[in-house]
Structures are given as C-alpha cells and as structure tokens.
C-alpha cells in the first residue's frame, strides 16, 4: 500500500537547515493499523503530510498503491489525494459557515459527484456516526467530539483506502477521545489502512503496529500481538 524509501525532508529557515525527516524507510500494507508516537518536533506531522501528498520529500521515493507519487504533477497529486487519502486533524478544520451535512459533502462536491448521488452517501455516513440529528448544524453548534466525528465522516466519504489522523484526540476529553478512536478502529476493521499520530500512550498501545520517532528518524517499529 505505502512504501517509503530513503525519505529526507529538510526545511530551510533562513540559513539554518532543519532535518525534519532523516532517511526514513517505511512499508505499510493494506488494512494495517499503525500508531506513530514520539516527542514533539520529532517529525510525526511532517511524515503524515508527506504520506498525505500535502508535502513533497526533499529526497527519497514514495509509492502509494504502486504509483510513484514523486513523479506526479500538482494536479495529479490533488486527484490522488482526493481518491486515496482521508485526513483527520487535531483542530477538525471544518468550514465554519457550512453545516455538518455540507462539510461532509464537500469532497464529493469537489469531485463533481451529482447532487442526487451525494445526498444518500452523506446521509449514510452521518447516520453511521450517529450525527443525523445534527446534519443541519454548523460546527460552532457542535461539541468537540461531534465535530471530530463530522471530520471523520468527511475524511471517509470518498471511501479512501488510507486514513491519516494527526492527533485526532488532542483536543478532546478522554471520553469523546476514546469514542473517536473506537470509530477509527471500526473503520480499520472494515479494511481501511489507518495511521494515527498520538501523544497518548494508552491510545498508541491500541494499535497493532507501533512506530516511535525521534529527531526525524524511526527508532522503533514493533508489531504487537493482541494480548
């Protein structure tokens, strides 16, 4: 599914160079469940952004589903991102003036799906996350947990094979946080490849495969057999 080889990402800030990712190799199979942990500034978000095609590596190759992502144009990357990747963010990033329904609908709209086809899909997605009664509410009228669920519905509405979550519970209390993780895991059970960046030790341990990063490098990659 995902194959990174020799990935480096160097930011240049003035004269200084920040080596955010240092020779990273990573293979992720379809349907895997990974957690990525590590101290602040260790390059977790940078890695996720590269995987999500929002950023390009300074060097190294990235194959997504046997497509060489580094050879693609900006527009091709946008299309690939739309079809293959779902993003869940710490700060939800819902569009404030749109309703929950419209936020979930957005990727379908951008992809040019007919309104008649969009409606049942969005309704099904909202229904499965228990958000149907909130469909017409705007983000400010929703709780944090509900917002993140709307964001998850939006991230999965295009049925992407890969779901990337960057500290999805970072802004939630533990109850709604574990609720969100339950949803993500349920999606993983149904076949989605799930990568979750988290600072929460307990949440990280729930993943079958755990990656630990320090200073832009993967220092630990353990496969966990469920205890």
């Amino acid at each position: 599914m995902i194959r990174l080889t020799g990935i480096n990402r160097i930011f240049e800030v003035g004269d200084e160079k920040v080596h955010a990712l240092n020779d990273v190799d990573l293979d992720v199979g379809a349907g895997e469940y990974l957690s990525i942990m590590g101290p602040s500034g260790s390059g977790k978000s940078t890695l996720l952004n590269l995987l999500g095609l929002l950023d390009r590596p300074t060097s190294g190759t990235y194959y997504l589903d046997d497509v060489d992502a580094s050879s693609l144009s900006e527009d091709e990357r946008a299309t690939l991102r739309r079809d293959k990747i779902g993003f869940v963010f710490q700060f939800f990033h819902l569009i404030p003036r749109l309703t929950a329904f419209e936020n979930v609908e957005l990727p379908l709209t951008l992809a040019g799906v007919e309104p008649a086809e969009r409606r049942p899909k969005v309704e099904a997605a909202l229904e499965s996350l228990g958000l149907m009664p909130r469909a017409a509410h705007r983000p400010e009228q929703l709780s944090g947990g509900q917002r993140q669920r709307v964001a998850i519905a939006r991230a999965t509405i295009m049925d992407p094979p890969v779901l990337l979550a960057d500290e999805p519970t970072g802004n939630l209390d533990s109850a709604s946080g574990s609720e969100v993780i339950d949803i993500l895991e349920e999606l993983n059970h149904r076949g989605i490849t799930l990568l979750v960046v988290t600072h929460d030790e307990a949440l990280g341990k729930r993943a079958k495969r755990r990656i630990h990063m320090v200073d832009g490098a993967i220092v630990e990659d353990v496969q966990q057999t469920p205890s």
Partner: protein
C-alpha cells in the same frame, strides 16, 4: 466540480461574511450608479437639445444671404457684398417639388405702444406659411392671413409675453397697437406652449412681410425658412434653393444654405463626446471599487487560509481553488452592478420628479458598459488574491488553528 456547485459555494461564502459582502457590493454599486446616472444626464442633455431643435420646425432648410464657408476659420466677409434676398427670390423657391412651404423673414426692432404703454420689441415680418414652418400655436385669433405676400396689410400677431406686458389680462384681439408711426390691428395672440427656444418667440410680434419691408425700409430678407416635403427631400430642397437663387442672381453663388440636420449633428457630436467624458470619469470610481474588492479579497484569503488548506487536503486542485475565488469576485461584481443599476434608476426617477421636462434615461450601451466594466474590474482585481489562494501551501495553512 460542477458550475452550479461552484456558484453555490460562492454564494455560501458571500452570505457567510455579510459585512464584507455588503461593503463590496456598496463600493461596486456606487461606481455603477455613477456611470449609469452620469451617462443618463449626458444623454438627457443631448435629447433635450435635439428636442428643442426639432421643435424649431421639422425638415427645415434655412437660406441666408451671403456666402459663408461653414468649414473655414475666417469670418464670412463676402456677406457684405452679396445681393439681397428678395421676396421674389423666396417665392421662386416654390418651383421645386421638394419644397412644401416657404416663409420669408425680416427681423428688426421697433417701438410697440398701446394706451400710453410702450415697449421695444423684436418685429418679425413674414407670411402665413411661417405658422406651418415653425409649428406655431395660437392662443387666440389667427395667424397672418394667407394670400399675396406683397400686400402690406396693417395686422399684427402678438407673442404671448408681449401681449401680457402690453395688455395684461385685457382683451387684445381687435385692438389697434402702434408700431413706430403706424397702426396695426391685433388679429391673433401666440400660445406660450409647444414652443422651442420659446422665450424668444413669445417676446416678438409678427406682421406681414411687406409691412415689415415698409417699416424697416428694406427690400432684403433676413433669411428664408423653407420646409421640405419630407426628411428625404431635404438634400433636394437644398440643391434646388441653391440653383434657383443662383439663376436669379446672375449665376452668382451668393447664399448660404443651412439644414437643421447639420446644426443638430454638431450638437449631437459635442454632447455625445461630453457624455463619454463624464462616463469615463465615473468609470474611475469603478476602478476604485475594483481596488477595494482586491483588498477585501486578499483579506478574505488570509482569513480563510485554513479553509483553503482544508480544501486542498480533501483534493481540490490549485485551479479549482482559483476558480472558486474568481467566481466569488465575479458574483460580487455582478450583484454590485445589478444593485448599482437599481440605484441609478431610483436616482433617475427622483430626478425625473424634480425636473419633469428633462428627458432622462440611461442609454443601453451605458448599462452594458457598466456591467462589463464592473465584471472586468472584479475579475481583474480578483485574480491576484485567487492566485495567492491557489498557491497556498496546505501544510502551513493547516498548521494554524
């Protein structure tokens, strides 16, 4: 993304930030209002002048003694040596089939007195045809009697103002007024209304042309007013007038023929140029509106940085984001233009109530131009912010809250 969805998205972001949207609409609509209103005023002035001229009498050709170069810069000096235009010259013009009426005209000033009241008045000597040529309306009585132009009968037709000033509210018809040392019987009073450049006519009196010749002791006519049979026959009437007079003046081309069209055209050109100039000035305010739109769109882009980042994260291409922002700018421009046109019509209506005589309506080209210019400025000034949005780095955009 389908065009309907693009429009809906634009609509949602316009209604999502009402203050910003209203401000931009206001700026755009003021610009459009200025363009439409000012061109209406210019066009109104043009129409007004044209109306005034056509009220002078329709299909009119004016024959003046003396040759003048209408295009030359030097004053027409030859006029002094030219032969007079006589009453016979005037009547000879009837030989042309293009001519319907001929009205000779002698102009002079003289003292008009009645019952001890005396006034210096402009005296117009003419014939019955003058009524048709200048489309004069009578308030009372009748105009100069038709018949032989050479007969010097002692009758007078008073202009409305002259009548008022000499007779007040008393009856004038049938009374005898004195012009210099002769007595004339009042047979008619001109109406005040329906007259062009009207003040001038109401301040005059008409007497038969032969009487005027005696009064001012002259054979020569001031000018001859000729009414052509139709608009199409004006050129033929002009040609005929030249030929007939040349023949009668021993082959000398010593008259000047003016058509109303030529005068009208000059005014038309001047006033059209004026309208365009005024419209151009108003268009500057549209440019200002454009700059404002650019500024507000730039603010919108930085306000909506995370939104743009998010759009990219869910698969929007740079081109798509550019299209979304340009659509927003275009919608603002068009809405602003529509609002501006409504405002302009309200303004025109109000002006119409205040000055009912002044014809006010925006020319079609001005409406089109106003909408076109506002759309172009909106898009032009919308491109820069839209490009900035399209190029935004999504990682940076999303790293902020």
């Amino acid at each position: 993304m389908s065009p309907e969805d693009t429009l809906r998205f634009g609509y949602r972001s316009l209604t999502g930030y009402p203050t910003r949207t209203l401000l931009m609409l206001l700026a755009m609509s003021i610009g459009v209002t200025a363009v439409v209103l000012l061109t209406s005023l210019g066009e109104g002035a043009r129409q007004y002048v044209l109306n005034q001229f056509s009220a002078l009498g329709s299909n009119m050709v004016i024959v003046l003694p003396g040759r003048s170069e209408t295009t030359g810069a030097a004053p027409p000096m030859v006029g002094a040596t030219a032969r007079d235009l006589t009453l016979e010259d005037a009547l000879a013009l009837y030989r042309s089939s293009a001519v319907r009426h001929v009205a000779p005209l002698i102009v002079g000033t003289a003292n008009v007195s009645y019952a001890g009241l005396s006034r210096e008045v402009m005296i117009l000597g003419s014939t019955a045809e003058m009524q048709a040529v200048r489309e004069l309306e009578m308030a009372q009585g009748r105009f100069l009697p038709p018949g032989e132009a050479e007969r010097a009968s002692n009758v007078v037709v008073l202009g409305a103002k002259v009548k008022r000033e000499i007779f007040g509210n008393a009856t004038a018809l049938g009374e005898w007024v004195r012009i210099e040392d002769r007595r004339y019987r009042v047979i008619g009073v001109l109406s005040d209304k329906g007259q062009s450049l009207g003040a001038e006519i109401s301040d005059t009196v008409f007497i038969p042309v032969a009487s005027a010749q005696q009064l001012f002791n002259t054979e020569g006519l001031f000018r001859i007013l000729v009414q052509a049979r139709a608009r199409e026959s004006i050129p033929r009437a002009v040609e005929a007038a030249r030929e007939i007079i040349r023949e009668r003046h021993d082959g000398k081309d010593d008259i000047t023929v003016i058509t109303q069209d030529a005068v009208l055209e000059t005014f038309d050109r001047i006033l059209t140029a004026l309208t365009l100039a005024v419209a151009g000035i108003a268009a500057i305010s549209l440019g200002v509106a454009g700059v404002l739109i650019m500024n507000v769109m730039l603010v919108a882009v930085s306000q909506r940085t995370t939104e743009i980042g998010l759009l990219k994260a869910v698969g929007a291409s740079g081109a798509q984001i550019m299209r979304l922002f340009l659509t927003e700018a275009a919608m603002l421009s068009l809405l602003g233009a529509a609002l501006g046109i409504v405002l302009a019509y309200v303004g025109i209506w109000i002006l119409g109530q205040m000055f009912p005589a002044f014809p006010l309506s925006p020319p079609n080209w001005a409406l089109g131009a106003a909408v076109g210019i506002s759309l172009v400025t909106g898009l032009l000034f919308g491109v820069m912010p839209a490009r900035r949005a399209a190029r935004l780095d999504p990682v940076q955009a999303l790293s902020r809250r």
